[in-house]
């Protein structure tokens, strides 16, 4: 036995923020002898309260990974070979400047700058804006933009990043398409609380793993049919009159009058008075009045003549849409793979919990109309949804349908329901619109990403052609609020809508697991014109690791690990707020890099200075910021509002608003790396309508004036796009998109099936992926400890299919889609929708990548489904949600063919050279 049973655990604890996934938990980094010894959760941290997941605890192996790059790299071999020589930073930044400067002077749009799982988007976006290219976004377009956009257009906030279940009070939680991520520890902590209280969890997911495994009820739905199930629940609740009418009347646009005259220029839009106020029908005065007129008790049903047109309240349109027997459980059950009885039981459970188990907090509050409420009454049903919903071509509308169900039950922003995290909720009206006006040598006219209100806000030219390389905010994806990174390479190579000069990627593995049509994408990256020039002439990649994408770079800018850098998790983009507090956090260098690498954000500031970008260079030619930490402290987005909200003002006494404080980062470090600004108790619920919350949000700098608003069951911006698709208005979509847009842009939530790209008989199975709880994309799959947990990813086959095809343990199958064929190992699983196969995401590797042995199982038996997924549909449009451009990963249909067992999966790729010699 060891001598000392009570050793000193460490010399020192340094508290910073994890980056092993997107959760942003607080970590205690134990130091010994100046080195990182071990990492555990920070007990004081509001996100994880001391716990830490497998990824977080394996952070030390990420830090010590042999795949870490050592110095800037200049390509010496052909693209994709992985042959490079190490160079110095002066040379690297000189090369980058020489490539980027002339592009900026002549046609800045020929820089495509896309950042992957970036947590500094307000900064990288600002940099791209100052450079002047319209071609910037992060990875949201292939992640979950449909959730974000549906939430913003409907509720002014969305699942996960912008809201959370009321874990302390809810009695029933419904999870839709939630695997063991997004988010990780907060959901696990919350599920633990629910279990301890005996609350009920229902998971709707084709695959029963993790969270679904402990759900009290699992509904193994057919992929892509969640919206149909939800609208059937809506149907059952409405036909039974089991909806929260007072809530709908007080807090949603259910009474707004919608112009129903097809000849009217405002067809499909709300009626408004001369001051722009939306109108409702006052049945007592027999006329339309503003929605917030004193004492009005608006009509909810009927058709009313108003001026030259006629109109219906939103609720009338809802009744017409959702009382339709086509939505009865008996009608939708077969398509969903869910028995009608089960849908009816779920509807009854929702109604019983919401209306018979309501909870009351004795907390008076005052609404924006000035009405005082003696208590807060809540309906304890909470919802969470994630990529299983959003990665389908109907994801936006499905998410809208879930929000509709939440509103009918009166559960949004009430005790026990779904709660927003500051700075959300924020009404659509104060969100930016997309900006895309290019002036050579000058900044862009505003921030790239935003929320179009109608066709006039699209990023298209006078002929309707896309202005962005990814075609975000074009007629192909009008509400592409996070851009469409998954289309950049394919569009650039096709010079559609134009060619690019420089592709600049940060932390995005676009030559592998983040691309659709991976093999094709690898070919595109090396495709040349007649003269032998690459069709994408320059590729710069910034990453800390030797990923598959780095092999396709011409210039590699090596990043640090998360333990060696400053970062801010800012209220300007992706903070760490919880419903009861506005919160932000930092990372700081708990150790110095032991090699010639630099934090990417500081490198961008250096590049910005070299390029002379406004805001990054002083009149005397000196850099405006010494490094990213300096930017975090001194940059101001609006007067007094900067990246961090805590300890502002020269003495550090201000919160939210205040002058830059030179000691700000020290104060964060002393506080464990984060800041919390607590929402007053009176302001904690009913936030969109709560006067105390609105005042607090102004004082905290989240908004500049109170912004009360109504939830948008009927989304007028969608109606305006739908009207355009029907031929109305000046801006008109291309003919081939009319039918799609007319259907997808419905202003009330609808369900439509995935576009039929197959003959269903030939491809009877759905094929999807899920992310394991212990891994975050290819980053995690290279980790020495985590790869011993999930080193292989067989294709899981449901029992009935397994038996029908005569599979046995150790078998292999060809998986065939209309786009391609792969050969993979298979395994049986019964806790699975009977028409669905699936595998773990991002375990398969290209031989030689990530410093793994080329004989590693990840490179020999591992595989990607991505090879089966085309980036375009047969009609040439993006394989995406036609509303948001969200990559429709999970619309894949396949068939299986049993093949003789083999030792390597197909397709195979030549090894890439090991970028980091051992």
């Amino acid at each position: 036995m060891p001598a000392d049973p009570a050793p000193e655990v460490s010399d020192e604890i340094r508290k910073t923020t994890c980056y092993m996934c997107a959760c942003r938990c607080g970590i205690d980094v134990h130091m010994q002898g100046g080195r990182v010894k071990h990492i555990e959760g920070n007990r004081d941290h509001p996100v994880n309260r001391g716990v830490l997941c497998a990824k977080g605890a394996a952070g030390i192996m990420q830090h010590r990974s042999p795949a870490r790059l050592r110095a800037p790299l200049r390509r010496t071999g052909p693209r994709g070979s992985g042959e490079f020589r190490e160079i110095g930073w002066d040379e690297a930044l000189g090369i980058a400047t020489n490539w980027l400067a002339p592009v900026r002077e002549k046609h800045p749009e020929r820089l495509a700058f896309f950042t992957g799982r970036d947590q500094s988007q307000s900064f990288t976006g600002w940099w791209a804006q100052q450079y002047g290219t319209p071609n910037h976004a992060a990875h949201g377009g292939f992640c979950s933009v449909s959730m974000a956009a549906a939430g913003i257009y409907t509720l002014g906030g969305a699942f996960w990043e912008f809201g959370a279940p009321d874990w302390e009070r809810t009695k029933l939680l419904l999870l839709f398409g939630v695997a063991e991520d997004h988010d990780s520890n907060p959901i696990k902590i919350g599920l633990g609380k629910l279990k301890a209280r005996g609350a009920r969890v229902v998971s709707i997911n084709p695959v029963r793993t993790g969270y679904s495994a402990i759900a009290d009820q699992w509904i193994g739905i057919a992929p892509g049919t969640d919206g149909l199930l939800v609208l059937s629940l809506v149907h059952v609740l409405m036909t039974a009159g089991r909806i929260d009418l007072p809530y709908l009347l007080a807090f949603t646009n259910v009474a707004h009058l919608v112009d129903q005259d097809p000849r009217s220029p405002g067809f499909g839009g709300f009626l408004r008075d001369e001051e722009g106020r939306e109108l409702v029908w006052d049945p007592e005065r027999h006329r339309a009045v503003p929605w917030d007129a004193a004492g009005v008790r608006p009509a909810l049903a009927g058709t009313f003549n108003v001026g030259p047109t006629h109109a219906k309240p939103v609720f009338q349109l809802m009744a017409e849409a959702y009382l339709d027997p086509a939505l009865a459980p008996e009608a939708v059950g077969p398509a969903c793979g869910v028995p009608a009885e089960e849908i009816r039981r779920l509807a009854a459970l929702l109604a019983r919990t919401a209306f018979e188990e309501e909870i009351t907090l004795e907390r008076p509050w005052t609404d924006f109309r000035g009405r005082r409420h003696e208590r807060m009454v809540g309906r304890p049903v909470a919802f969470h949804a994630m990529r299983g919903i959003s990665a389908h071509a109907n994801g936006f509308q499905t998410c809208r349908a879930i929000h509709l169900l939440q509103m009918l039950l009166g559960t949004v922003e009430t005790p026990g329901g779904f709660r927003f995290k500051p700075p959300y909720p924020k009404p659509l009206a104060i969100h930016p619109k997309p900006h895309h006006k290019v002036t050579p040598g000058k900044p862009l006219d505003g921030p790239h990403l935003g929320y179009p209100r109608g066709p006039e806000d699209l990023a298209v030219d006078a002929e309707g052609r896309p202005k962005r390389i990814d075609k975000a905010f074009s007629w192909e994806a009008p509400l592409a609020a996070h851009g469409m990174m998954h289309m950049v390479i394919a569009n650039a190579v096709a010079a559609d809508p134009y060619p690019i000069e420089v592709l600049f990627l940060y932390m995005a593995n676009m030559a592998w697991n983040s691309a659709m049509n991976t093999a094709g994408t690898m070919e595109m990256l090396t495709a040349t014109d007649a003269s032998g020039e690459y069709l994408i002439p320059r590729i710069i990649v910034a990453d800390a690791y030797a990923s598959e994408m780095t092999a396709y770079a011409d210039l590699v800018l090596p990043d640090t690990t998360y333990l060696e850098r400053h970062d801010c998790l800012s209220l300007l983009d992706r903070p760490i707020s919880e419903p009861d507090a506005a919160q932000d956090a930092i990372r700081w260098p708990v150790v110095a890099p032991d090699r010639d690498v630099r934090p990417f954000q500081s490198v961008l500031l250096d590049l910005g200075h070299r390029l002379g970008l406004p805001g990054m260079i002083e009149p005397d030619g000196t850099p405006s910021f010494a490094d990213y930490a300096d930017y975090i402290v001194r940059h101001q987005r609006r007067p007094g509002v900067g990246p961090l909200a805590g300890w502002r003002g020269e003495d550090g006494a201000a919160e939210g608003r205040g002058a830059p404080n030179p000691q700000q980062i020290d104060r964060y470090v002393a506080n464990g790396g984060f800041w919390s600004g607590h929402v007053p108790e009176e302001a904690a619920f009913f936030k969109p309508w709560n006067a105390a919350y609105q005042d607090w949000a102004v004082a905290t700098g989240l908004v500049d004036a109170p912004q009360p608003f109504l939830f948008q069951i009927y989304a007028e911006p969608l109606a305006r796009f739908q009207a355009a698709a029907l031929g109305k208005g000046a801006q008109q979509p291309p003919e081939h998109l009319r039918d799609t847009l007319a259907r997808a842009m419905a202003p009330l939530p609808v369900w439509y099936p995935a576009p039929d790209e197959t003959e269903a008989d030939d491809y009877p199975l759905h094929a999807i992926t899920q992310r394991p709880a212990a891994m975050y994309h290819s980053w995690g799959a290279q980790n020495a400890w985590l790869r011993q947990i999930h080193g292989e990813n067989p294709l899981y086959v449901p029992g009935a299919v397994w038996e029908a095809l005569g599979f046995e343990a150790g078998d292999w199958a060809d998986v065939v889609s209309p786009h391609g064929r792969i050969s993979v190992p298979v395994a049986r699983m019964d806790a699975l929708n009977p028409m669905t196969v699936w595998t773990w995401n991002a375990i398969g590797k290209r031989p030689g990548a990530w410093a793994l042995d080329p004989r590693a199982p990840e490179a020999t038996r591992g595989f990607l489904l991505n090879h089966l997924i085309p980036e375009r549909r047969r009609d040439g449009t993006a394989n995406s949600d036609p509303v948001t451009g969200q990559a429709a990963w999970y619309d894949l249909r396949v068939r299986l063919e049993r093949v003789p067992a083999r030792s390597r999966s197909e397709p195979r790729f030549p090894p890439q050279a090991v970028l980091v010699p051992r």
Binding site: P5, V9, R43, T209, A347, D830, A856
Partner: protein, 245 residues
């Protein structure tokens, strides 16, 4: 052969809630990390960590099982497994060198690595497969219940618990004295029907498992009835509901 204490002053162990474990492996990696960087048996080796057959020592594993009932959907249970610190630990009595031992003070089963010859008899004797031969050092390793944490005065009192318990995100792991019927863990076992793993092996394990709760759908709960047409159906309901507001 090595003898077991007739009784122990305390019976420290884990209570693991199978109703709450989501199989996230947080406990597996926290254990690996603690016992690689600290801990009495550090380091836990990894042979070929980036190669074709990575083989590392892990003192804690999570297994997943499927069960397909005759009625209702298939179930998945995640089952964390480490040494159960048995009262009648066959791994101790089989040890030819005395390296395996059970402490009389708290019941923790340990290996004295200096005396371990790596013969593997304990691994054969353990019916749970909880022993782990370190691939590089050739000695047997196992869960120590983090005895270097649980009474370590250099740690804050709140952290004097095993690393796996400290990190568990769902709170599915509990640590305490199962020899004391009044302890929180003993009460939890009593209230939730905690059970011994493979009692027929007569090892009298200290660790207990809490079974997944039966939470079947209430088939008898009333369904929602459509609004009666005789009372005007949906519109009739709407009129009445609005009049009540």
């Amino acid at each position: 052969m090595t003898s077991l204490p007739a009784s122990t002053e305390r019976a420290l162990g884990l209570v693991i809630d199978l109703d709450t474990c989501v199989g996230c492996h947080a406990c597996v990696v926290a254990c690996k990390e603690w016992n690689t960087t600290s801990g009495p048996c550090a380091p836990l080796s990894d042979r070929d960590p980036y190669g074709p057959e990575p083989d590392g020592a892990f003192l804690n594993h999570v297994h997943g099982f499927e069960a397909v009932p005759d009625d209702g959907p298939a179930r998945v249970v995640h089952f964390p497994k480490s040494c159960l610190h048995c009262a009648d630990a066959p791994c101790v009595t089989v040890c030819p060198t005395g390296a395996s031992l059970k402490r009389a003070s708290d019941g923790i089963v340990l290996v004295n690595e200096a005396d371990c010859i790596g013969c593997g008899l304990c691994a054969w004797a353990c019916p749970y497969g909880a022993r782990e031969l370190d691939p590089s050092q050739g000695v047997m390793k196992k869960c120590t219940l983090c005895y270097d944490r649980i009474e370590n005065p250099s740690l804050p009192e709140v952290d004097r618990i095993p690393a796996c318990v400290r990190t568990c995100p769902t709170g599915a792991r509990h640590f305490g004295d199962l020899g004391d019927p009044g302890s929180a863990v003993s009460r939890l076992v009593a209230s939730r029907g905690g059970f011994d793993l493979m009692p027929e092996q007569r090892t009298r394990p200290t660790n207990k498992y809490l079974p997944p709760r039966e939470r079947d759908v209430d088939l008898l709960a009333p369904l929602l009835e459509p609004l009666p047409e005789a009372e005007g159906g949906f519109l009739g309901w709407l009129d009445r509901a609005l009049a009540r507001l």
